[in-house]
């Protein structure tokens, strides 16, 4: 059985659907990229997968030992207020809150986990820094470390590289790819189709037509061909 199976899922707000029915499944160690234009419902789909919004119809089933709260999430925009006083350590630790359950304080294991994940994301030396004074790329790493504290299995990333410069973007992609090869399943929303085609094993395209398939199938599909032809043209124009 797959980690996540989605059948005829329609998502939307206040009973109004914004997508066609979506079907896909995510297996262990998949790297699924969700692509599509602005406003087609990618973030909404992700929030529905996380249980933040109710699906309008269809079903989502979790299997293969994955529980609904064993998912790490990196939001598209964290509505963190600019003046929120919080240290990097406090934020990363808060990722352990789900596993702490009713226990009021974090135990040694959780503190270790937070420390490990900060090291893993290369922000160990920033532990006592204030989150709001970090650069965009550093902030993304903090949130990724927090997401890693919440899961050992699946990461849901909503545009993790938006607003980052090309160098930091490439670093971020490498980090995510490494996590994926270490065994973590990745579901990522991205507008960067070139990167999606480069890193992903599967692609879900949301728009007027829904496409789901492996990377190679996507390159053969109409949506994929459309993108590729655009890119060639773009190259010609640029050159």
């Amino acid at each position: 059985m797959s980690y996540i199976t989605v059948k005829n899922l329609e998502v939307g707000y206040e009973r109004k659907t914004i997508t066609e029915p979506i079907n896909f499944k995510v297996d262990k160690q998949d790297y699924l990229c969700i692509v599509g234009e602005n406003g087609t419902g990618k973030s909404t789909l992700m929030k529905t997968l996380l249980g933040l919004i109710r699906p309008i119809s269809g079903e989502i089933t979790f299997g293969d030992g994955l529980k609904a709260n064993e998912i790490g999430y990196l939001p598209q925009q964290t509505v963190v207020q600019r003046d929120f006083p919080a240290s990097v350590k406090e934020i990363v630790l808060s990722g352990c809150q789900g596993r702490a359950g009713f226990r009021p304080f974090y135990n040694k294991e959780e503190k270790m986990l937070a420390k490990e994940n900060m090291e893993r994301m290369g922000i160990g030396q920033l532990a006592d820094h204030c989150y709001r004074e970090l650069s965009g790329g550093q902030q993304q790493r903090v949130l990724l470390a927090r997401a890693l504290c919440a899961t050992r299995k699946v990461l849901l990333l909503d545009e993790p590289v938006s607003g980052l410069d090309p160098k930091v973007t490439a670093e971020m992609y490498d980090l995510i790819k490494n996590l994926n090869s270490e065994g973590i399943t990745v579901i990522m929303i991205s507008h960067d189709i070139a990167a999606a085609v480069k890193y992903a094993t599967h692609i879900l395209h949301i728009g007027n037509n829904i496409f789901y398939g492996s990377r190679d199938e996507y390159l053969e599909s109409d949506e994929g061909k459309f993108f590729l032809s655009n890119r060639e043209e773009g190259k010609k124009n640029a050159g």
Binding site: N69, Y73, E90, P104, Y106, C130, R146, T151
Partner: protein, 283 residues
């Protein structure tokens, strides 16, 4: 001067006032940080006006123990207000303003139409600005206040990590299996209790000050949630002690004196904050 203070401190009334004053400021400041960060700074104002309206109704019906009406009504409003949170049509601040103004007007209207007391504006004034009622506290009231404060502080400490997680990022918390709605509900109930308690001390108009000033001052100086929380608790205790002592010695109104102390301390924190930043950037 000190002699005078010591003679006053012999009076059980003064001691009671000090205990109650410090405890209430402490409780408000602890949850103040969360409220300010959730953009609910004015909830103190709003809810205290609701409590004022409820007191008016209780007075009209001659309820002997008006807490029986005031507390539940305030709790319900707190829950409704904090629920409006992110996904509703009327945003938090507008909802608070609506309820606040509505309840205040209604309360005054009811008092005016039905009250048997000759001195309506006096009654209203003391409800809004805090009478000297902190100096007329009975022992039962003091004990009740101590018990509730201990409960509030215990809840805050036990749920500290959860409150942080939910305040910092509600969606992430929900996604990782934290019962964010339950904790928001808990926060709302506790806040309602604090506000009803605090009305005795500073009156409904000045409750916001007890909630906002310690948090804002701490945020000028500190960068982590923990240090901000600790500092605002210390700030609140010192300011309310100072305010109470000054008001007793100088015979000024209790509520306004405490708030004046808060304002002065806030300005000092601002200046220190700016100085520290300048030093840091000049190095």
């Amino acid at each position: 001067m000190l002699d005078k203070l010591f003679t006053y401190l012999q009076h059980p009334i003064v001691v009671k006032a000090l205990i109650v004053g410090v405890l209430i400021s402490l409780c408000s400041s602890l949850f103040g940080v969360t409220l300010v960060l959730k953009r609910y700074s004015f909830i103190g104002d709003g809810l205290s006006h609701v409590a004022f309206g409820a007191i008016a109704i209780a007075t009209v019906f001659n309820l002997t123990n008006n807490m029986l009406l005031v507390l539940p009504v305030t709790v319900i409003c707190a829950v409704l207000l904090l629920k409006t949170g992110q996904n509703t049509k009327i945003k938090g601040d507008a909802a608070i303003a609506m309820i606040s103004v509505g309840a205040l007007a209604l309360g005054y209207l009811i008092m005016n139409v039905f009250s048997t007391s000759a001195n309506i504006s006096g009654d209203v004034c003391s409800t809004l600005f805090g009478s000297t009622s902190i100096l007329t506290l009975s022992t039962t009231e003091v004990v009740l206040c101590i018990v509730l404060s201990v409960v509030v502080i215990a809840i805050f400490i036990l749920f500290y990590n959860k409150i942080f997680a939910v305040t910092f990022d509600e969606n992430f918390s929900k996604a990782s299996g934290v019962r964010a709605n339950a904790y928001n509900f808990l926060i709302a109930v506790v806040i309602a209790v604090i506000i009803v308690l605090a009305m005795n001390l500073v009156g409904s108009l000045l409750i916001s000050a007890l909630i906002i000033f310690p948090a804002l001052s701490a945020m000028r100086l500190f960068n982590s949630f923990r240090s901000v929380t600790v500092f605002s608790a210390v700030f609140a205790v010192i300011c309310s002690l100072l305010g109470l002592i000054i008001s007793i010695l100088a015979g000024t109104p209790v509520g306004s004196t405490i708030v004046a102390a808060d304002v002065v301390a806030f300005l000092i924190c601002c200046i220190i904050g700016i100085a520290v930043k300048n030093r840091a950037s000049s190095h």
